[in-house]
Amino acid sequence: MDNRSRLQTLFEDILLLTDGEFRFDLRREDVATWDSLAVVAIATGVEETFGYHMSEEEAVGIQSVPDLMRLLEVRGISFAE
């Protein structure tokens, strides 16, 4: 499984997205289940899936899937197709 698939699965699992609901440009305001507890779950899930431990500021600052991809790509985690 590549990093894009792992990221998609992570979001589907955390936000309980249905098939076709995930997009790589998904934003926090697009889905009601992206609540404050989801922010914690995304931070924990990123660490478990990609091995990067986000700071609290970084976690709270993630407002979209592209935000997270940019943060991780700076740390050398590629999401190139």
Partner: protein, 394 residues
Amino acid sequence: MTALHILLERDATPDRLAHAWSSSGSFALLPDRLPISRSAIDAALRLIPPDWHRDHYVLLTSGSTGHPKFVLGSKDRTMALADVLHRVQVLEDVREAVVALPLMYSYAFVNQFIWSLRFGRGLRLTPRLADPMALVGALSKARDAMLCLTGAQVPMLLRAAADMTFPGVTRLNFAGGRFPQELLPTLSERFPHAAIFNNYGCAEALPRLTCRPAAAASESADIGWPLPGVELRSAGDSSLEFRSPFGAVGLIEAGTFRLVEPTDWLPTGDLGVPGDAGRWRLLGRRGEVFKRYGEKVSIAALLASVLQAWPGEAAFHLEHDRSGEIAHVLTIAPIPTREEARAILGALRLGYPRAAWPVRIVGAAALPRLPNGKVDLAALPNLGDGIEVWKQHL
């Protein structure tokens, strides 16, 4: 030695039970595998004052606390309850009771054994679900029969029955746990001539408090109306309490005998609230309704939602998450496909905030069961074949 006659389950044939019931002395009906030593049993029964050494009986239950508890019943009160059950379950045309539960359970003891004794009806013992095919055989031969089940027995019975129907069962009672409301259409197909009832009570009530026709409600938490003479109340924390003219007259617990006065309110061990038109609604067992991240979580409500989306078995147990918050784990059987797990999660997403979602879902080949068919909750956290199929990352 105690002054009471002790009857162990293996010796409790209907004839011996009938003899113990009709003789004037009090007796105790106990399981073969005693949860405490025989000397502790004798010591506990010796606590019963002499006034109750006649015309009474004792059953042993885990009760609402999970600790062994002796429940002292009055033969007269229990006969009166059998009369009430005869009326509310409309049993006049029923000719026999097919027994699929141990007779030492107050449910089967009163609703089947005592009822059959009181009204001179047949009593057909079966190997229960220890031999599902024998039970299926007995049901297929039944005529104008009453069957008493717990919800936990239904999946096993349906598996054993394959596509068979049981037109000879005309009354199907449920008690002793959550009523499987979502299986009502299936039950109506398999028991096409049966009036189905959801009964509610507890061991201390010996055992019945409410009854409703299954089709009179759409959710399992609806326990219907109190039996005539039974009073229910919801205490400040929603603890469901009762007073019953049929209930226990004494309790022995932790080395103490307690006389139950007619004015005493006893806890059922459940949380409940009044509903519409005199009905009552369960919120869950005490300890199964809690706050998680500020949200009220009801295990009973969650389980009902899960079973709407999942045709297999399901149960929850509690643990703590990384933040120290109380968390609930859902175990389902058999092991679901990813799509099946997503269907369950979709139902949870629609109906509940994130805090109410389980912290993870574990799939297993089968849920661990106690001898009475109920899920062995203590074994859920350590399932050898459990596979994590989803988690919240919390």
